[in-house]
């Protein structure tokens, strides 16, 4: 991963504050979700995004109205970053009627047609052709929207990813494949699952350009995103961004994470944390005072607490919901 930039980047105070706020919302939301899980209010699988926040926030910064996004089951951050209501997301985690899927989807299966968020997919790799299909529709309909198709380093070994690369390039589909390489597919490190560890490079075999990006640096993510989006909107076909990132928590809530050392995690947290990075840029550059940032922290905390309260108070779905939404 790249080092922190030495010089102050060319970015406005407003933008930095926006990224700070959005990344912080995801982190605090996920911490709260972890708490609620511990209290038994969230059940089943719950995959937290803590550590990876810069990836979705940086890419959402280059999206425009009508652009689509689709991801795996580690999806809470993507939903918050694209503007979905934290209350609706948290209430889905608790399986309540106020959730985005009325409590019928859960942590891994949430959607918002309004925000063009197409899930939330529990089958590793399945979202890759699905995302290309969304891009196929945009191309067919003749607009210049793009689809951000997120998947992890684990999914990168699924065959359907390469079937999709082939067709996406063949048909010049406006899809950005975002590999969130957090270095562990559940408990298997990238090194233990492949000898070709430069994952974006696999796209070259299909003619798809791509690059590796410091996914812990929101500004680097945004810069790479701009390039990818420009490529897609110009009708040049897909682009691959391999985001080098790291998840601080286990694969899911039930993962003791014995496959890596505590030191490894601490080192990343200390040296590479994406939120601390932006906080440093703001304070060291004299763009924001501690008071200003504290006020934002407080504001975010209030939003997250409100979402948790909503998620606890929203009733469970009525039993007749069992039978609805099976057929349109």
């Amino acid at each position: 991963m790249a080092k922190k930039p030495e010089t102050r980047p060319n970015v406005s105070k407003e933008d930095l504050l926006k990224y700070y706020r959005e990344m912080l919302l995801i982190r605090r939301f996920e911490e709260k979700a972890g708490q609620l899980y511990g209290m038994g209010l969230i059940g089943g699988f719950c995959h937290l995004y803590i550590g990876q926040e810069a990836v979705v926030v940086g890419l959402e910064a280059v999206a425009k109205a009508g652009d689509k996004r689709i991801t795996s089951y580690r999806d809470h951050g993507h939903m918050l970053a694209c503007g979905m209501d934290p209350k609706g997301v948290m209430a889905e985690l608790t399986g309540r009627i106020g959730g985005y899927s009325k409590g019928k989807g859960g942590s891994m299966h949430m959607f918002s047609k309004e925000k063009h968020f197409y899930g939330g997919h529990g089958i590793v790799g399945a979202q890759v052709p699905l995302g290309a299909g969304l891009a196929f529709a945009d191309k067919y309909l003749g607009n210049d929207n793009v689809t951000f198709t997120y998947f992890g380093d684990g999914a990168a070994n699924q065959g359907q990813v390469y079937e999709t690369y082939n067709m996406a390039e063949l048909w010049d589909l406006p899809v950005i494949f975002v590999i969130e390489n957090n270095q562990y597919a559940m408990g298997t490190s990238v090194k233990r699952s492949t000898k070709s560890t430069t994952l974006y490079g696999r796209g070259l075999a299909y003619g798809i350009p791509g690059e590796q990006v410091d996914g812990m640096d929101v500004l680097a993510v945004k810069a790479a995103g701009e390039k990818a989006v420009a490529h897609c909107r110009a009708g040049k076909g897909p682009y691959i961004l391999e985001m080098m990132t790291y998840r601080y928590r286990g694969h899911s809530m039930s993962d003791p994470a014995k496959y890596r050392t505590r030191e490894e995690v601490e080192k990343i947290k200390t040296e590479k944390d994406c939120i601390e990075h932006v906080r440093d840029l703001l304070t060291q550059g004299g763009l924001a005072s501690d008071e200003e940032l504290k006020a934002i922290d407080k504001e975010i905390k209030a939003i997250v607490n409100e979402s948790a309260e909503f998620a606890k108070e929203s009733p469970e779905p009525p039993l007749n919901e069992l039978w609805t939404d099976i057929y349109a």
Partner: protein, 462 residues
């Protein structure tokens, strides 16, 4: 020594074909490997090469002749110096009148008589067909009906498109999509690489993006590569999104046994897909079913698995001329009314059921044949009403016995019409074995009209 040149079988299911064109004349010397003729099967026009060297002594079947049975002598090769009169007298070729049964030419509609002569198996046109609406009909093959359904719906809705292997430039592996590329262009008739999981997923994604994809599997055997997207991506998303977004699309292609293609290419997935909530499942028998159900499927806002049958593609039936004709889902048809026993089937099983009913009628047993047409939803009401009338039921399907549609019907009838039954429900299915290749074993593995006759007799205690 004269050699007979026989009409070749050029596809697994070909039983006859059209001798479209001779490329040699009597008296021509031919070499092994030389193209002798063009032969039109129900799928394609194929070139037919000479195996032996020799001189074309006599052409026995004139070009343009349709309905030439496989293994009919079509020419005689003689040796250099040998005269035609030395050759054995040609056997009169058992061929039908040269009627142009050429599917690509829509203006050359075969007459009912011509089709009857050409079709080796009984068409439903002569049977009571109580579900067809009033109005004029015309005879067409199941293949033409499917093609027409897609073309009409593509004309009516610009978001409908077809994707799959060989659907475009090749004109369809089974000629279902023939002509669609010419009419609709490559934007809407999309040739894919051989990559079922990938293009099924892209199809589902496109349906979420505002399109109505028709995803063709060259056969449903290959849908096993893609079943995750059918079941996990397409069928469940409406539910998992709390009703926000569904998958308005069709997965279609031939399903079930073909002929002599072995275990991996011969199986019926009807019961598999019918088990999945969120999917709708059609399995047409007649051309009218095929056309009417496919139009309904394309218009339906849900993912529809549409199971066709390669052997039925070439069979002809009456289809309403009305362009608005559709067949609703969940509505069985009575192919043949009867009073002694209810025979429930779907897809090609109906063909066996009808043949059995004919046979049974000769022995004084009146069978009512119910064609389910859709397996999800299933028309329980029609089945139960018929069973309550006849008090006996036999189910007929090609699929494997365990967890079959027949099992489900038997259980439903047992639970909802137990007091009306005079005998246990008997389920006729394919045998519980992978499909063998050997001709005799394959025949043995498949359900036959004779087995249906025996089952009916057993429930009638005859």
């Amino acid at each position: 020594m004269a050699t007979e040149v026989l009409m070749p079988a050029l596809s697994p299911t070909m039983e006859e074909g059209t001798l479209a064109k001779w490329l040699v004349r009597e008296g021509d010397r031919v070499k092994s490997g030389q193209i002798l003729a063009e032969i039109e099967t129900d799928k394609a026009t194929m070139e037919f090469e000479a195996v032996d060297e020799g001189v074309v002594g006599r052409i026995l079947v004139a070009e343009g002749t349709a309905g030439v049975k496989v293994n009919t002598p079509i020419a005689v090769l003689v040796e250099e110096g040998e005269t035609v009169s030395d050759a054995p007298a040609p056997v009169a070729a058992p061929v039908a009148a040269p009627v142009a049964v050429v599917e690509s030419r829509s203006e050359a509609r075969p007459t009912v008589a011509a089709v009857a002569a050409a079709a080796p198996v009984m068409a439903a046109s002569g049977w009571p067909h109580t579900d067809l609406p009033e109005g004029p009909t015309r005879t067409m093959t199941v293949r033409e009906a499917l093609r027409e359904a897609m073309a009409e719906e593509m004309r009516a809705d610009p978001t409908v498109f077809l994707m799959g292997e060989e659907v475009g430039e090749y004109q369809g592996a089974y000629k279902i999509s023939q002509g669609l590329l010419d009419e609709f262009g490559a934007r809407r008739v999309v040739d894919t690489p051989i990559t079922e999981m990938g293009f099924a997923g892209i199809g589902v994604g496109a349906s979420w993006g505002g399109l109505k994809p028709i995803v063709e599997f060259m056969t449903f055997n290959f849908s096993m590569q893609a079943i995750d997207h059918i079941v996990n991506s397409a069928a469940k998303t409406l539910y998992m999104s709390g009703g926000q977004m569904g998958s308005p699309m069709v997965f279609r292609g031939p399903n079930g046994a073909a002929a002599r293609v072995g275990a991996q290419h011969s199986q019926d997935f009807a019961a598999w897909y019918a088990a999945i909530p969120g999917l709708k499942v059609c399995m047409p028998y007649t051309a009218a079913d095929a056309k009417g159900l496919l139009k309904t499927a394309i218009r339906d806002p849900n993912p529809v698995v549409f199971l066709e049958n390669e052997i039925l593609y070439g069979r002809s039936f009456e289809v309403p001329v009305d362009g608005d004709f559709t067949v609703p889902f969940g509505k069985a048809s009575i192919l043949r009314p009867g009073s002694d026993v209810t025979v429930v089937s779907f897809g090609i099983g109906c063909s066996h059921a009808m043949a059995a009913a004919e046979e049974l009628a000769k022995e004084g047993i009146s069978a009512e044949v119910v064609n389910l047409r859709t397996l999800r939803p299933i028309d329980y009401d029609t089945v139960l009403a018929s069973v309550m009338k006849t008090n006996r039921c036999v189910t007929v399907e090609e699929g494997f016995p365990v967890g079959s549609i027949g099992d489900h019907l038997a259980s439903t009838i047992m639970q909802r019409a137990f007091d009306h039954l005079d005998a246990p429900v008997v389920t006729c299915t394919g045998k519980d074995v992978p499909m063998p290749y050997a001709a005799n074993l394959e025949k043995f593995a498949l359900i036959t009209p004779a087995e249906v006759v025996a089952a009916v007799k057993s429930v009638c205690y005859r």
